[in-house]
């Protein structure tokens, strides 16, 4: 008898069938990876076993946990179970904690509720649990509020809440998706240790095969509310017997075919003066002219005042960054969250001005230009954002949305000319001209990201800055979008600056990588070279922490041998 057994679970909301007969089971001390793309029903499966479904949800089938019939248990019994025998960790740590209660209250609350312990004892246990998840008392007293903690630290608090009463089963729904790779590795390690230490069962929900390959004893792969494939992790992911498993595995390691349009520049250490670089070396000359020249760019933000009498100390987000980007070059800017990469990107896009330093785009200095004088430069650089849902006004049609950057042109195109340009841009990203008269909600996530790429292309820019452009997409869609980026670079010669913490993205479509750490560029070089053999500490840390399907499977084989 397994700890958790789900048999032919069906779930519908209204007339919409979300789960169509799901079977899975978890034993004590076992890690089950539940994999699937968005809409596959994996989160709904988790919410079912917590009985935290939306009000209108209708379920049938059997869910048995520790001998309890979950689907038919009274609410009072579920309250006893939740937080005591089953703990749950959610995807978004930034919003998972109550902002007006201290972390101590939030951890101790469940302990008091379930054990009837007095405040003191509950707080002692909460303290011990927070220590265990890596939040020591000196820096993280119980009286801290969530807003005083970073995303990774908040996720530790959520894990402390979920594990405080040593549950028999921990449900973790995409627990690291919102975190950078280094934090992801730390949180996964913490989860693994807790599972080993307390012989918990773990239901790990993820869309990331590499993470699951690393963590899970068995995997269950879901699609459209059905289980496609299930079994022992190593076997399932190595043999890839099921076509969908194969498709997922291929998509997640997908590298678009592309030739660098660009002869790799000599490897230079950062912060070298012009004279130090021997350009006429064995590796030849630049084939393309310089598009973007960044010199000693620094950005300070006003810090927080600590007392009435001391001056606030400025926070330096970007420290003396210098680099060149050439026409047609595809460059990745990688680093952990908070390293300053988005601040740098905002300055390049002239959405923010550096405290000091120079940014030249197409030979023109951007930092001193007025908003009106920036228009020609803005036309030549466009941006693609992370979230394809939030970056479109839902009340406008595609034609208007994609045509938006055209106002940057000197002369406004006529209506028919405008439609033609939109049609062309849509064609370039693989959509059809007929899509022009639709609204954004009529498109899927991947199609919307194509729309934002079309919008970026319409002014024929020389540079596209893409801020985590595929991190919100499912693996198969993400592979398509990466192909699109690669193709546009080949055909149109657009230069890219890809901002990402995902090294797989960097590897897939960039010629060069810059590693940013605490506001500085600490390493720069050809993508393959840097990612295979990073020299800087920050680079090594990123590479070591990045989940990698092949590496994880190799490790698994080595451990079994």
């Amino acid at each position: 008898m397994s700890l958790l057994e789900i048999e032919s679970l069906r779930l519908s909301i209204g007339n919409f069938e979300i789960l169509k007969g799901v079977d899975l089971h978890i034993d004590q001390g076992e890690v089950l990876g539940l994999v699937g793309e968005s809409g596959s029903g994996k989160s709904m499966t988790a919410l079912t076993l917590m009985r935290l479904l939306p009000e209108l949800a209708q379920t049938s089938g059997r869910v048995t946990f520790d001998g309890i019939d979950i689907l038919n248990a009274p609410e009072a019994a579920m309250n006893k179970l939740r937080g005591d025998d089953i703990g749950m960790v959610f995807q978004e740590p930034m919003t998972a904690l109550n902002p007006v209660k201290t972390i101590g209250e939030q951890v101790a609350e469940g302990i008091r509720w379930h054990t009837g312990a007095n405040r003191r004892d509950a707080e002692d246990r909460a303290r011990a649990m927070l220590d265990r998840v890596g939040l020591p008392e000196v820096k993280f007293p119980l009286s801290r509020y969530p807003h005083e903690l970073s995303g990774g630290q908040r996720q530790r608090v959520v894990i402390a809440i979920a594990c405080a009463l040593e549950p028999k089963l921990l449900v973790a729904d995409e627990p690291t998706t919102a975190l950078d790779v280094v934090l992801q590795a730390q949180i996964l390690e913490l989860l693994r240790d807790l599972v080993d230490e307390r012989r918990m069962g773990l239901l790990l929900i993820s869309h990331d095969l590499a993470v699951v390959a690393d963590m899970a004893d068995r995997v269950t792969i879901m699609r459209h509310g059905e289980v496609m494939d299930a079994g022992e992790t190593g076997r399932i992911l190595t043999e890839k017997a099921h076509p969908y498993t194969r498709q997922l595995a291929e998509a997640s390691t997908h590298v678009p075919e592309r030739v660098s349009r660009f002869i790799p520049p000599p490897l230079t250490p950062p912060h070298k003066g012009e004279g130090d670089v021997d350009v006429e070396g064995a590796r030849g000359r630049w084939r393309y002219p310089t598009l973007l020249e960044i010199r000693d760019v620094t950005r300070d933000y006003a810090g927080r005042r600590r007392s009435l009498f001391s001056k606030p100390e400025p926070f330096r987000a970007v420290r003396g960054v210098s680099f060149d980007l050439h026409e047609g070059q595809s460059m990745a800017l990688v680093g952990r969250s908070g390293c300053g990469k988005s601040t740098l990107a905002r300055m390049i896009l002239a959405l923010d001005r550096p405290t000091s330093g120079s940014i030249r785009f197409g030979g023109e200095e951007l930092t001193t230009k007025s908003e009106a004088d920036l228009r020609p430069s803005r036309r030549n650089m466009q941006v693609v954002f992370q979230d394809p849902y939030g970056s479109f006004n839902p009340r406008h049609k595609v034609e208007r949305l994609v045509a938006e950057p055209l106002h940057l042109l000197e002369s406004q195109p006529s209506r028919s000319d405008r439609r033609e340009r939109v049609a062309q841009a849509l064609g370039e990203v693989g959509l059809s001209a007929a899509d022009m008269d639709k609204y954004p909600h009529e498109f899927s996530g991947g199609q919307r990201q194509r729309l934002s790429i079309a919008r970026a292309l319409i002014t024929r820019p020389k540079l596209i800055v893409a801020d985590e452009p595929v991190s919100a997409l499912d693996v198969s869609i993400r592979a398509q979008v990466l192909d699109l980026f690669a193709d546009l670079n080949q055909r149109l010669g657009v230069a890219y600056l890809f901002i990402t913490h995902d090294l797989a993205v960097a590897r897939a479509i960039t010629d060069q990588v810059m590693v940013m750490h605490e506001g500085e560029i600490v390493e720069r070089g050809d993508t393959g070279a840097v990612l295979d053999d990073p020299q800087s500490e920050a680079g090594k840390m990123l590479v070591a922490a990045s989940p990698d399907l092949d590496r994880a499977l190799a490790r698994r084989r080595a451990a079994n041998a």
């Binding site: 917590m50 006893k80 469940g110 509020y145 809440i161 009435l308």
Partner: protein, 325 residues
Amino acid sequence: MPIWRGYDFHMTLFLSKRIAIGILTLLVASVIVFSIMEILPGDPARIMLGMNATPEALAALREQMGLNVPLLERYVNWVTGMAVGDFGNSYTYRSPVIDLIAERAVVSLPLAVISLVLSTVIAIPVGIFAAARRGRMGDTVSMGTAQVGVAIPNFWFALLLIYVFAVWLRLVPAGGFPGWAGGIWPGVKALILPAIALALPQAAILARVTRSAMLEVLGEDYIRTARAKGMPRRYVLWRHALRNAMIPVLTILGLQFAFLLAGTIIIENVFYLPGLGRLVFQAITQRDLIVVEGVVMLLVASVVLVNILVDIAYAMVDPRLRARA
């Protein structure tokens, strides 16, 4: 958890900033009130003496009332006077304005406080109740009632109350105010109907705001976290959702106070209460400018004060605001 745990110099800074802004608001308001009263046609001296007054008598009275000094000087005299509690002398009552105000404030202040408390204690539980039973019978009925409450004019509701409770049931007097000298109970009895009439529309709005604030908070991730901890629905509602939902509710509460004060002018007339509202109403019809100015400034000051209190309440409810201050 002690709310003032976060107390540090930020809180002091926050408070001093709020108070400074409040004083600035008062100054701006004083300029506006003073200029409007100056621009309005009508010479108070002539109004006091009537149409048949001799030019000599008029000049003498103008001199006596300080209407002959230059505008700026008059403004400065007025403001500095108010700062030390001297609001000048009424043209028609011929007694210090501050005495008139004090006499009336003992009616209006309790009236405002009672109706504010009344609307809060009715509205917040109703809003929470409706949010907790969203889409069900209780929600529909309470929000339907609230909709009616928003739509009913308060003076009409006041007349209805008088008819039912004073004329028909004879529980309370239909109007007038016996003063506090005869004990608290007769005073409260005289104020209870006007307070209800004032509170009803306020409560209706506040209940709707509370409901929508609660619904929004109940959809937040941290509510799910609390439920996943095993906390029952009702506990989560009161212990996790309520405090987060209080921020928009406090905002509306602060704004409503100003409407409450404006509402007293009508309600005091309906109930023949000798309060500030009636005082200002009569002073306007009699062109007793100095009384109008004094009372309006007092009302502005009380609104400013309430908004400072609301800001402090924000900081107590939300630790993020404490930190950002």
